[in-house]
Amino acid sequence: MTTVIKMKRRAILAFMLDRPGVLNKIAMLIRRKMYNVDTLTVCSTNKPGVSRMTITLREDDEARVTQVIRQIEKVTEVVSAKELNRDESYWREVAIIKLETDGERLEALRKKYNFEILDRRNHELYIVQVAGTTWSIDDFLAEVGRDRIIEIARTGVTAMEN
């Protein structure tokens, strides 16, 4: 049996010029440092020509994370990069889930989770959109019952400091 060591989850937020190859460079850099990226989201910002990237990965060693951030900062197109403090930032994602369940069961979950029904094929087949923290989405999936789920699409984490 392999033991899974749970390492600390971290989010790195980087702003960069919207130029070809930048995403590739950063992805390659993280691979080179032998990390497995948990999630990676890229989107535009309110500043034209500047994109933001949220990277989450697992690492306990502060020095290694600092190294990755310094290397990212060194990429010529990068405006800034830093690690987000867990306690002072919001980490959110969205999941679209196709599942088999009955309406009553879904209704019962309403109070606890922030979801929207996007589609309903018959009484049993739903497509719902859940938004929130990674944990709350995980909890939702657990509570619905993993065996009822047909397909999941998750956006990965995007984050912002408060």
């Binding site: 960069m16 010029l17 390659m28 600092t66 900062e73 060194k74 010529t76 197109e77 990068v78």
Partner: protein, 576 residues
């Protein structure tokens, strides 16, 4: 104007004089324009890898020239560009500025596996400082100016510009305008701190003044920022001994009383012992490579470390620092030197201790050098390099290849002049020396250049003898032929029970090869011939080749085994 005209214009504006390269379909338009305009000298290598190393040589050697030039190499798409890869990867490891221009298939067929297409940007991205592909002629000039700026600023490195053939041929619109004087590149991530922060300087000086057993490290950054003189003043003012990385050699004279010579895997006993016993390390422009530190877990655990380094991502990467000074080494030294807080200290006990380290193997080494031959009567490399050093008074340029002869050159050539030592360090690329020395000679035509190779590495780019012949490049070639891939053989002797897998090597008649290229040649087999042969080569006008038949059993010592700590340093040949 056409794209190709803008290529030549940008290069001319940037002070480029030489282009090293090889032609082919996708780069023909640029070559054609070069021929029409006749303002750049073109040096045709015999293999694109050779062109990349020639460009490197030019850049490396012109760091200390009054008007530094950037080495430029140029190749066609696909196989031409791919043959540059090793030279580019080598340049990035050693932070050598270089501009690489490649032709690419026309934009209309990119990513269709067109004839001679390869993804140059994709391949080069992880091994270069920056890559570009201009998609219209309007972008060409700006791209090349930015490329040279990026390559030569901050921590320097190679930059690639891959230009599709149709873009080369495109005409710029009538509203095209570009002013290189006014142009400022927009690169947010590309900032560097030329001058150090006061607070850090203050903290560093406090540590230095307090220290009883300090040692300074001189890395490549000292050479790149032309700071050898200031480093020497700093050492003398504080009375602190200096150890060199492979690339820091020649920054100050190796026989300076405070010099410890090279440190690391094949460093001197005194340098490595000093590092282990120091209470403070002051590192200037170096990156704590594993060949320098040995096993990291044991390295400088109890020692305070001051790291002066231009690239912030190198700080705290391998070795945690007590004080980090993120700045150009030259500027940092200037500020340190002018600070009135900096104290002179006699440090008598420490310098005495270092004197003891120096004597540990000195007699043994001297006896070997004097004997000149190994057990079977063949020449020792250390005697040859020692003699070369004496004859040239340590003032000539040495370009070493990779292997035992490289480490022996680093150890036994008594460098007296700043920036006279060139070699592939970070990548350790065999075959680099011969082409690199061509670029070095073109950058510094008034100095004598010795290219030192082993029989293995020499044959990796032996074809560049053709370039040397065609352009009458005055290079003195020293071929140390031991019939083996010597450095690997050394590891086999020490760590693989003497099983010589893949290291014995049959070579051609090098005399005939030299003759084919019209290069005068002498073979040297006994110690008495060493001096007259070196003198003959030195005095000859033009290229000259000396082949020395060397002892295959010579071992370069001391040696810290790979992955070992300095405590594991092998100081003398193990008796069987």
């Amino acid at each position: 104007m056409k794209g190709t005209e803008l290529v030549i214009k940008a290069l001319k504006d940037r002070g480029v004089k030489y282009i090293f390269g090889y032609t082919g379909g996708a780069i023909m338009p640029v070559f054609d324009e070069m021929e029409k305009q006749q303002i750049l000298s073109f040096i045709m290598s015999r293999h694109e890898q050779g062109a990349a190393f020639m460009a490197q040589g030019l850049s490396r050697a012109s760091v200390s020239a009054p008007t530094p030039q950037i080495g430029v190499c140029m190749a066609t798409s696909g196989p031409g560009a791919m043959n540059l890869v090793t030279g580019v990867a080598d340049a990035v490891m050693d932070s050598v500025p270089m501009l690489v221009i490649t032709g690419q298939v026309p934009t209309g067929v990119i990513a269709t596996d067109a004839f001679q297409e390869s993804d140059v940007v994709g391949v080069m991205m992880p091994i270069s400082k920056q890559t570009y592909m201009p998609l219209s002629a309007d972008e060409i000039e700006k791209t090349l100016h930015e490329a040279v700026y990026v390559a030569t600023t901050g921590r320097t490195g190679p930059v690639i510009v891959d230009i599709p053939k149709d873009v080369q041929l495109q005409e710029t619109g009538s509203d095209y305008r570009f002013d290189p004087q006014k142009y400022r590149p927009e690169l947010p991530g590309f900032y560097f701190h030329p001058s150090p922060e006061r607070e850090n300087i203050h903290r560093a000086i406090r540590l230095i003044n307090k220290s009883e057993r300090p040692v300074m490290f001189c890395g490549h950054g000292v050479i790149s920022s032309n700071a050898g003189q200031r480093l020497r003043q700093f050492a003398e003012k504080t009375n602190i001994p200096v150890a060199f990385t492979l690339h820091g050699l020649s920054a100050i004279p190796v026989d300076h009383p405070l010099s410890l010579g090279m440190m690391g895997m094949h460093g001197t006993v005194e340098a490595n012992r000093a590092v282990v016993n120091a209470d403070l390390i002051i590192a200037f422009g170096m990156r704590f490579d594993d060949r320098v530190t040995g096993r990291l877990e044991e390295y400088a655990r109890e020692t305070a470390v001051i790291h002066v380094e231009i690239d912030p991502s190198e700080i705290d990467k391998n070795v945690p620092t007590s004080v980090a000074i993120n700045a150009d080494v030259g500027e940092a030294l200037e500020v340190l030197l002018n600070n009135p807080e900096l104290m002179y200290k006699p440090r008598r006990l420490w310098l005495e201790k270092i004197g003891e380290y120096r004597h540990e193997v000195a007699d043994e080494t001297r006896a070997e050098i004097e004997s000149g031959v190994g057990a079977e009567g063949q020449l020792l490399m250390k005697t040859i390099i020692h003699r070369l050093s004496e004859i040239t008074e340590g003032k000539d340029i040495v370009v070493a290849d990779v292997g035992q002869h490289q480490m022996i050159s680093a150890r036994f050539y008594n460098f007296q002049v700043n920036n006279t030592w060139f070699t592939s360090g970070g990548a350790g690329t065999m075959g680099a020396s011969l082409p690199m020395s061509v670029g070095v000679k073109l950058a510094r035509p008034d100095e004598r250049v010795w290219s030192v190779s082993g029989d293995g590495g020499f044959q990796m780019n032996i074809q560049e003898l053709g370039t040397i012949m065609e352009h009458d490049v005055d290079i003195k070639i020293i071929l140390l032929n031991n019939g083996y891939l010597g450095m690997v053989r050394q590891w086999q002797t020490l760590f693989y029970d003497g099983r010589y897998a893949g290291t014995p090597m049959k070579s051609p008649d090098f005399g005939l090869i030299a003759r084919a290229y019209n290069i005068p040649y002498q073979q040297v087999t006994v110690p008495d011939q060493i001096e007259p042969a070196i003198r003959a080569a030195a005095e000859h006008q033009g290229a000259y080749m000396l082949e020395f038949l060397c002892d295959p059993t010579e071992i370069v010592l001391p040696m810290v085994p790979s992955g070992g700590g300095f405590a594991d340093m092998i100081v003398s040949v193990p008796k069987p």
